[in-house]
């Protein structure tokens, strides 16, 4: 049950039947992004993307519930932007103004990481694109990240051994 890598990361590799320049637009052009990003039954009414290092993003996801539509907001910052090749951005739950609540406001202990990081790597393979997406629970430069990474690494190895028993 334990995948390769860290316990707090999800890595997915796909071959996409489109050139890298078009796949890049899927991630960076709000109109294209809205078309595929929402989970089933959700729409993306707002996607603001200032795609440059240090630029911010704000995405709204709307889901229909029995009590009417519910909106969730996510903000983040672009960390790396290499056109058609590599995109790294952070993601945090926020309000519609992009304000991120403190961990304690969400019932979590102070120092608890609240930001995740999404990395997208694209490589052209003869008109098609190899896309590797990694969603990391704790970005490497967040406070205490080294300690978390070390502990989780050791513990992941331990859990893997335990699961095999």
């Amino acid at each position: 049950m334990i995948d390769k890598g860290s316990a707090d990361a999800v890595e997915i590799e796909r071959i996409v039947d489109a050139p890298a320049a078009l796949v890049w637009q899927m991630w960076t052009d709000p109109e294209h992004f809205k078309a595929w990003y929402g989970p089933d039954g959700a729409t993306i009414p707002v996607a603001k993307m200032d795609v440059r290092v240090g630029g911010t993003r704000l995405v709204c996801m709307e889901v229909q519930t029995p009590n009417g539509p519910m909106r969730m907001w996510f903000t983040g910052e672009y960390r790396e932007v290499v056109e058609n090749e590599r995109l790294i951005y952070t993601e945090s739950i926020s309000d519609e103004n992009g304000h991120v609540p403190a961990p304690s406001d969400m019932g979590m202990p102070e120092g608890h990481p609240t930001t995740t990081e999404v990395r997208v790597e694209l490589r052209d393979i003869g008109g098609r694109t190899k896309m590797v997406m990694t969603h990391v629970g704790i970005p490497h430069d967040s406070p205490g990240a080294a300690g978390w990474a070390m502990a989780l690494g050791k513990l992941t190895a331990y859990i893997a051994a335990y699961s095999d028993r």
């Binding site: 489109a18 294209h32 989970p39 896309m131 300690g147 513990l155």
Partner: protein, 119 residues
């Protein structure tokens, strides 16, 4: 994997993990069981202070202690950590579904383009 996730318990696990001393204690226990004295050795902390951290880990279900021996050795219980791992894995189906939609959308987009190109 169909592990259901108890959110309260998950928060408790994260709360227990959100401290470098406690993470170090767990990393040490990942190498094998140990007594409180042994666990205290690498730290410049009093035994009661270490005991307090161990109690937090015990409450979170991450550490179990022997009942019989007087020194009650500590051992790691990885069950709550598996839930942390499940928490990350929970994103996988969401992303897979997104990328399926990206494939469909790209197909439509390129079909439209090709159609226009033939006009």
């Amino acid at each position: 994997m169909t592990a259901t996730i108890d959110e309260d318990r998950l928060s408790e696990t994260f709360a227990a993990l959100a401290n470098s001393t406690r993470r170090a204690i767990l990393a040490r226990l990942a190498e094998g069981g140990a007594t409180v004295n042994e666990l205290a050795e690498p730290f410049e902390m009093t035994l009661p202070a270490i005991s307090k951290h161990i109690k937090v880990l015990e409450r979170a279900g991450l550490v179990v202690r022997g009942q019989r021996a007087q020194y009650r050795p500590c051992a790691l219980d990885p069950a709550p950590l598996e839930e942390v791992s499940a928490w990350a894995e929970r994103y996988r189906p969401v992303w897979e579904a997104r990328f399926d939609r990206m494939d469909d959308y790209l197909k439509q987009l390129q079909a439209t383009k090709a159609g226009k190109g033939n006009d």
